[in-house]
């Protein structure tokens, strides 16, 4: 053992003296021995990845439009768009519906900068089509909702229609059907306002097709946004107890009377009260709350939900074949001020 050590030390001395200028490395200083390519490739990629994610988080990365890629074929995309949605678009109208006014202005300015004094642009923007589309949607959504929810007061129907035609819903549907890459507009990605206007114009472009097809499109893409939503949340009733009292007065029934059904843990942070609303000893509804006041309010809400048939267990909105045969109702539902239980018995439920 000792002899072996002496031999190695001796050899080191010989090596050191013979090749002094070279760096004295041990055999394991080279990473190649361990099967590595190098000691800097992986750390470099790691650092680049880190910088990339950081820039992405800060929003500094340029967002490339799909149309900037070399194999982009706008005509084919427009054709495929209609086929995906299974509707027939007029090609020119669809192109007009997807053209925003900012894009026309941008093109005109670009041509003027290039020295074209009179740019002969024949493009028209989608403002007219958007107005037409909004009219089509409001003309269908209102009668559809009145027919599907015949006991919902007219105020509720108009609140639902307003919700469906709001910019949030319009732009969400627009993003959902893939308008982001098809819109011709100045900014990218398109702002919700532009997106909403463009979607309305798409519906306006469908106006030329048969009414049934257009209505089915509106129903499947716009009205379907109500599925799973709580109508009571979209249409907020302020002071439900007063509204319930008014309805009972119209129906010639007794005043609503709230009574405590159950309570637990009053002296704790998790107190719970269960309150029922009664009229002429008949239970109209019940609700829970952390205080008596919230429970009373919830109970009144529940009573109204039961009267208007918009509880969680109510029938779902008709779609598909059910909606095709649904007779649309153009005359207004009962208004909230004139709503009464006697009148609601005369309403035909379909």
């Amino acid at each position: 053992m000792a002899a072996w050590r002496r031999a190695i030390t001796g050899a080191k001395h010989i090596l050191a003296s013979s090749c002094r200028p070279t760096i004295n490395r041990t055999i394991f200083s080279s990473a190649r021995v361990c099967g590595m390519q190098s000691r800097w490739v992986a750390p470099l990629y790691r650092e680049l990845k880190h910088r990339h994610t950081k820039m992405k988080r800060m929003g500094l990365l340029p967002v490339n439009k799909r149309s900037e890629y070399i194999e982009w074929n706008y005509d084919a995309e427009l054709y495929g768009f209609g086929k995906r949605l299974q509707v027939e678009f007029d090609a020119e109208t669809l192109r007009e519906a997807l053209t925003d006014s900012s894009y026309v202005a941008q093109e005109t300015q670009r041509q003027q900068e290039l020295g074209v004094s009179d740019p002969g642009l024949t493009m028209s923007n989608n403002k007219d089509l958007a107005a037409r589309g909004e009219r089509i949607m409001s003309d269908y959504c209102g009668p559809y909702l009145r027919a599907a929810l015949p006991l919902l007061p007219e105020e509720g129907v108009s609140a639902l229609v307003e919700y469906l035609l709001s910019e949030d819903i319009m732009s969400a549907v627009g993003y959902g059907i893939g308008l982001r890459d098809l819109i011709l507009c100045k900014e990218h990605p398109p702002s919700p306002t532009t997106m909403a206007r463009c979607f309305r114009a798409i519906v306006g472009a469908l106006g030329a097709s048969p009414a049934a097809q257009c209505q089915a499109f509106v129903r499947d893409f716009v009205v379907a946004q109500l599925v799973g939503k709580d109508i009571d949340v979209i249409w907020k009733i302020e002071n439900p107890m007063a509204v319930l009292g008014n309805i009972l007065h119209q129906s010639r029934q007794g005043e609503p009377e709230s009574r405590l059904i159950f309570q637990a843990g009053q002296k704790t942070l998790q107190a719970i009260y269960h309150v029922g609303v009664y009229s002429d000893k008949q239970c109209m509804g019940s609700g829970y709350g952390e205080t008596v006041d919230t429970a009373v309010k919830e109970a009144a809400h529940d009573a109204l939900r039961r009267l208007f048939h918009i509880t969680d267990t109510a029938r779902p909105l008709p779609f598909g074949r059910d909606a095709d045969v649904l007779p649309l109702k153009t005359e207004a539902n009962m208004s909230l001020d004139h709503w009464s239980i006697d009148k609601s018995k005369n309403v035909i439920m379909c």
Partner: protein, 163 residues
């Protein structure tokens, strides 16, 4: 929810079986091991629990202080004299599932040696757990006139002494 359980003349070992589902929430249809759905149980009259057979004399509670010769063995009747809630508490503690939630569930059990419960706790109660053994009415609990008017098969001789 807050439940009341009367420990009067109840077997603490059987009562613990009944109380544990309320503490850990497994009596509810929404029960899941990861959700905290247990209820509070207020146990009164813990002093009047009834251990069966010779359990008062034969049941031994072991404790070790951790020091050398620190082991003690205490009989059930001795422990009950020291702390009338301890037998009930240990019975429930042993029946609860052995995990990190055990102490939190024990904190929802409020044991009182008699029926004197502070109002801050009593006001929360909204349900009662049925006793496993109905408490029979003892002869000395009946009013005297009802005892006297009860039909007798024979009369004791005047000079007979009943102790």
């Amino acid at each position: 929810m807050w439940h009341l359980f009367d420990g009067q003349w109840q077997n603490p070992l059987d009562a613990a079986d009944k109380i544990v589902p309320y503490l850990d929430g497994s009596n509810k249809p929404i029960f899941h091991p990861l959700n905290d759905s247990g209820d509070h149980v207020v146990l009164i009259n813990a002093r009047d629990i009834a251990l069966p057979g010779t359990e008062w004399e034969k049941r031994v509670y072991f404790h070790h202080t951790g020091y050398a010769r620190g082991a003690t063995w205490t009989l059930a009747w001795q422990l009950h004299e020291i702390d009338p809630t301890m037998i009930m508490r240990k019975a429930v503690y042993n029946k609860l599932s052995k995990n990190l939630l055990r102490h939190g569930r024990m904190a929802r059990l409020h044991i009182f040696p008699d029926d004197k419960v502070p109002d801050s706790i009593l006001d929360n109660i909204s349900a009662q757990i049925r006793q496993q053994r109905p408490v029979p009415t003892r002869l000395d609990h009946y009013p005297q006139e009802q005892v006297d008017s009860f039909p007798k098969i024979f009369d004791w001789p005047k000079d007979h002494i009943i102790n």
